[in-house]
């Protein structure tokens, strides 16, 4: 039977619509899914008889009576003056769960000893376990029964420090060593001030002792002028002759050398020259140090401190000066009066320090039997 065009279109449209509905039902959830409601939590349970439950309950250890009330304690210290034992911690897997009390959500919190929240024990619903004495790592890793914490009248307000870590494994036993404790500081006892000796070899004025360090590098003290020039020699009686020409000087030098009259000293081997070895620098220093230790300049004038005096003294073979022979042979840089002051100080030094004789080698007496001592105070003026 022929189907007209309108009927055929209706069939096609109907078929397509049905096909689309079918596809919508099959695949529509993929593209147009809604938020599914959360799945219901399911828990597998095993059914036991009442007899088996009674038997199991009989085998289980008795929990403290106040344990179930822990989550509702308003204050830890007030409700639980005695800390419960560690076995009552619900998180221990070997612990049978009492069915009468739900497991408190906050129970693990006391196992975090390092948490600062553990310090706020008043508001915590957790059991009053001193968190400082039950480090979490030990509790969670060990299967040994933990010792009960010591009873305390109150919970510690602050956690104590964590225990030292376990010793590292080693083949040999090594005892722990601790550094030696530092000695306790000894309190300083007041000591009365003492004064330095009245004598000194260097002047430190009050201003120098207390003077602050200058802020700049500018010198605080002006440069010291040069020493006083030497006194001019007495006017010569006659003006010296003009310098000879070079040829004359050469000729004079040659003549003087050839004639052997270059000096007033006798020729080698004919005079009183020392025959032994010369004085060593150490021997000279010994004499110098011995004399200068008695050269006292504390009571001389400031003018005298500018005067250099030269003193000659004859020595005896035992190292003693002949006091009568001490004489000033010259001075420089001062007046006659200041030279006399310095000569007196020099003479006193020579005599005072020779009470037992100067340390001079006897075998070289020919060298030191005649001494010329130059006393130069210029290095001491500013001390």
């Amino acid at each position: 039977m022929p189907v007209d065009r309108s009927q055929r279109i209706g069939v096609i449209v109907s078929g397509a619509a049905h096909l689309g509905a079918i596809l919508w039902l099959i695949l529509g959830g993929i593209f147009f899914s809604h938020d599914l409601p959360p799945l219901m939590a399911t828990t597998e349970v095993s059914l036991i008889s009442s007899a088996e439950f009674a038997a199991m309950q009989a085998r289980a250890p008795k929990a403290p009576a106040d344990t179930p009330e822990q989550p509702t304690l308003p204050a830890v210290a007030e409700a639980a003056p005695v800390a419960p034992s560690a076995e009552t911690v619900p998180s221990i897997p070997t612990q049978p769960e009492p069915d009468a009390t739900p497991e408190p959500d906050a129970a693990p919190e006391p196992l975090e000893p390092a948490s600062p929240a553990a310090e706020v024990s008043d508001a915590s619903p957790s059991p009053p376990i001193a968190p400082v004495e039950v480090p979490s790592d030990v509790v969670l890793d060990t299967v040994r029964p933990k010792p009960a914490p010591r009873e305390a009248p109150r919970v510690a307000p602050v956690p104590s420090e964590a225990p030292a870590p376990d010793a590292a494994p080693s083949e040999t036993v090594v005892r722990e060593t601790t550094p030696e404790p530092a000695p306790e500081p000894v309190p300083e006892t007041p000591v009365e001030a003492t004064a330095p000796p009245e004598a000194t070899t260097e002047i430190v004025t009050e201003a120098t002792e207390t003077q602050d360090k200058p802020a700049s590098s500018a010198p605080l003290v002006s440069a010291r002028p040069k020493t006083r020039p030497k006194k001019p020699d007495p006017a010569p009686a006659s003006k010296p002759a003009a310098e000879p020409v070079a040829e004359d000087a050469v000729a004079a030098a040659l003549a003087e050398a050839m004639s052997g009259e270059a000096s007033e000293a006798p020729a080698p081997g004919t005079g009183t020259a020392a025959s032994g070895p010369p004085m060593t620098s150490g021997e000279k220093d010994a004499l110098r140090i011995a004399v200068q230790s008695c050269w006292t300049l504390g009571a001389v004038s400031t003018d005298a401190m500018n005067t250099i005096v030269t003193v000659r003294v004859d020595m005896t073979p035992d190292g003693m000066p002949d006091v009568a022979s001490i004489r000033m042979t010259g001075y420089d840089g001062g007046t006659q009066d200041s030279a006399q002051i310095m000569f007196r100080a020099a003479k006193s030094a020579i005599v005072r320090c020779a009470r037992h004789g100067y340390p001079l080698p006897k075998e070289k007496y020919e060298i030191w039997k005649d001494l010329e001592l130059v006393f130069d105070p210029n290095g001491m003026r500013r001390r």
Binding site: E206, V221, S222, G269
Partner: protein, 445 residues
């Protein structure tokens, strides 16, 4: 030809050297040693109690000996050996000295003396000084006579002689110091002039405390004192005669402030500061005629003038450079030359009696110093340092400086101190109560 001549000269010199050197080495001259380091320490001396040649002179002899020893020890240059250490006893003024006994106790100087009291009550003191390690007397024996009440002056004169013979410079013990004696709290201090021996003895007050007085200055002869008085409410210079203890204004300069006076070395002129219209300059007045002459003319403050010992120059302080510094100008006035260039402020310059140094007060870094420098400003040395040191004055021999040291705080007071120009021997001068602004007299005749 020229080369030949040079060769000849060199050969001649070489021959001369080789010929001379052996001779010099062979000389039998003395062994020469240079001593350039000594010991700076007080010289130990012994001063046995002077012999009492009359029975009534026993106490006086002990007192005179004590003053002599105290004078010498107070310089810091001498150290008295305790009498307990003496081996020898001086039983007679003319007895020979046992030098070994004094050497044994390291007495480098020995002072012996004798005191007698005459029938008229006058005392006679004689002494001898010995250089122990030279086994000789040092100088001639000397004696002084005077009224019994002047026994301290006589003792000072003995000490001056000993000091001078040993050190080579004049003494300063027989001298006086005029100063401002202070009393009362710091905010209501009463001041009056006083004069005393250099060691604080024999205090004599010259004014009462009804008027503030400042800056007393001795005349070269020591018989008069210039000072600044606030009697009229303004500072005015007055001249006081010590013998009669009477004073008069130096000049009638009404309406102007005059201060910081000082005598010229001849005593005929007074140099001072005068403030006119807010400006301070230095003037000089002839005491005989009253003629006044202006020496400086600058818009800055010039004050604290002081003559050099020869009277040819004046050192003063001025802030003309922007800070307080020291200047030197001719005594007749003229262009000044600045001599202080260090950090801080300089003031109150005083020329040394020797003429070689200028003492000054320096303020730097919150502290005060007494220092000395050459008259050209070189070799500046600070001798002291404290909360407040000021107003130096020279001893007659130019070896010691006396100054005022004031301590801090409401209860702090002023006191006189002395120090050696080397910076050693800083010590307080004993006074009756607080004291300030000293001026040292020349040696008394």
């Amino acid at each position: 030809m020229r080369i030949a001549n040079q060769v000849t000269v060199l050969a001649a010199l070489a021959m001369a050297i080789f010929a001379v050197v052996p001779n010099a080495a062979a000389q039998g001259g003395p062994l020469r040693i240079v001593i350039d380091q000594g010991v700076i320490e007080p010289l130990p001396f012994a001063a046995p109690v002077f012999i009492a040649e009359t029975p009534e002179a026993a106490d006086m002899a002990a007192a005179v000996t004590g003053v002599v020893a105290a004078d010498l020890s107070g310089t810091g240059l001498f150290r008295e050996i305790a009498p307990d250490a003496f081996i020898s006893r001086i039983t007679s003024f003319d007895a020979p000295v046992a030098y070994p006994d004094w050497k044994a106790i390291n007495a480098q100087a020995l002072v012996t003396g004798a005191v007698s009291v005459g029938s008229d009550g006058r005392i006679n003191v004689k002494f001898r000084l010995f250089d122990v390690f030279s086994d000789a007397q040092l100088g001639e024996g000397l004696q002084f006579g005077g009224a019994a009440q002047d026994w301290r002056r006589i003792a000072h004169k003995v000490a001056d002689q000993v000091y001078s013979r040993i050190t080579g410079e004049s003494g300063y013990f027989d001298s006086r110091v005029v100063y401002v004696s202070e009393s009362g709290p710091k905010n209501a201090r009463l001041k009056r002039l006083a004069v005393m021996d250099y060691d604080g003895a024999n205090v004599q007050y010259l004014t009462d405390s009804s008027t503030i007085v400042l800056a007393p200055r001795f005349s070269p002869s020591g018989d008069r004192v210039l000072f600044t008085s606030f009697e009229t409410g303004f500072p005015r210079i007055k001249l006081l005669d010590i013998a009669t203890v009477t004073s008069r204004p130096l000049a009638e300069l009404s309406g102007n402030m005059t201060f910081a006076p000082r005598f010229s070395p001849d005593g005929g002129t007074v140099v001072f500061s005068l403030e006119q219209g807010g400006n301070t300059d230095i003037y000089a007045m002839q005491l005989g005629t009253g003629q006044t002459r202006q020496l400086t003319n600058a818009p800055s403050i010039e004050t604290a003038p002081c003559y050099s010992p020869d009277g040819s120059q004046i050192v003063f302080e001025s802030d003309r450079s922007g800070s307080q510094q020291l200047y030197v100008m001719p005594a007749e006035g003229g262009e000044p030359t600045r001599i202080s260039f260090g950090e801080g402020r300089y003031g109150t310059p005083v020329w040394s009696p020797r003429g070689d140094l200028v003492a000054f007060t320096k303020q730097h870094a919150g502290r005060f110093h007494i220092g000395v420098m050459r008259t050209d400003g070189s070799e500046e040395r600070l001798l002291t340092a404290s909360f407040l040191d000021e107003g130096p004055t020279w001893a007659p021999n130019g070896r010691v400086i006396m100054f005022t040291r004031e301590s801090a705080g409401a209860t702090g007071g002023a006191q006189l101190y002395s120090v050696d120009i080397s910076g050693r021997n800083l010590r307080a001068v004993p006074t009756e109560g607080a004291a300030s602004d000293p001026d040292w007299s020349p040696l008394q005749p």
